[in-house]
Symmetry: C2
Amino acid sequence: MVKLRRVESLNNLSASLENYLETIAMLKRKKHYARIGDIAKSLNVKSSSVNVAINFLAEKNLVIHEKYGYVDLTDKGEKIALEVQRKHDILYQFLHNLLFIDNVVADKEACEIEHLVGIETVHKLEILHTLLKKYFLTKSEDIVNLEECLNKWKE
Amino acid sequence: MVKLRRVESLNNLSASLENYLETIAMLKRKKHYARIGDIAKSLNVKSSSVNVAINFLAEKNLVIHEKYGYVDLTDKGEKIALEVQRKHDILYQFLHNLLFIDNVVADKEACEIEHLVGIETVHKLEILHTLLKKYFLTKSEDIVNLEECLNKWKE
DNA sequence: CACAAATGTTAGATTAATATAAAATTTTTT
DNA sequence: AAAAAATTTTATATTAATCTAACATTTGTG
């Protein structure tokens, strides 16, 4: 019931293009700059593929790219990158720290879901997570023990 | 951090192909049969696109298709279809009935997430949903009131 | 039962995201 | 500063999923 062509998220960007923005933001945080080659390495794609994507994003005013130089986010691009990263973070925490999904799987699933869900859904997941952690679960208890936790707490 | 080419879920099927199987199962449930045109209408694609997909699925022994006749699922195809439908159902219930996401949005997001998450994740969401519904929430309370609910229940 | 309407199939085109390979530019080394 | 090495760019190809348009088959009606 889905078409996986262009125009997926609310930014009108495909999952792939959101990943490019996200990666640039991550590299800037870690290394203070992002080059075509860094992005390619991070995403496990060839630098020629990165070039195509960056040219497209530059046309949309989401990145700036001087030929043979650094890639940088515009304000608009940065805003999108931060939102995607926030979604990723909340989803990962929910899956790993609340549901106790293995960290590799949780990261993989967060990476994919982050491009599909609206901010409202993510926000509600965050509330749910916070409250449940606050009231019921200790760091080491798996969600499958939640029923026990609830009963214990009830007494 | 994702590649959106072939081989996505554990069935080695793309989201698109899983949707074809899911749709055939749905049509069989509703109308007791599925034809190329029914599938096309359900998925909002052209029947020529359905043909291409069905030929591929037939090669993989997931559907049977007599030329100009009905499309049917093999046992293998049905198993996959049912699993995807179960994922969809759990995700939709979680989003709509627990998080109170609008039904159209919840359905859209469930449709997309169902192809990305493992059965373990979905299973844990189901447990969480069941327990929370059982202990805290009445049908009409939004998750944003959860904190209040918890406090009330605590007294 | 013939033929029109509906339905299904095939062939070829398009788009997004990637790749490969070769050319262009920059950086490093000597 | 010239040659070698590394990086970036460009041009062209591939794959999945879709489309359009032309062709084939089946169904339904006079």
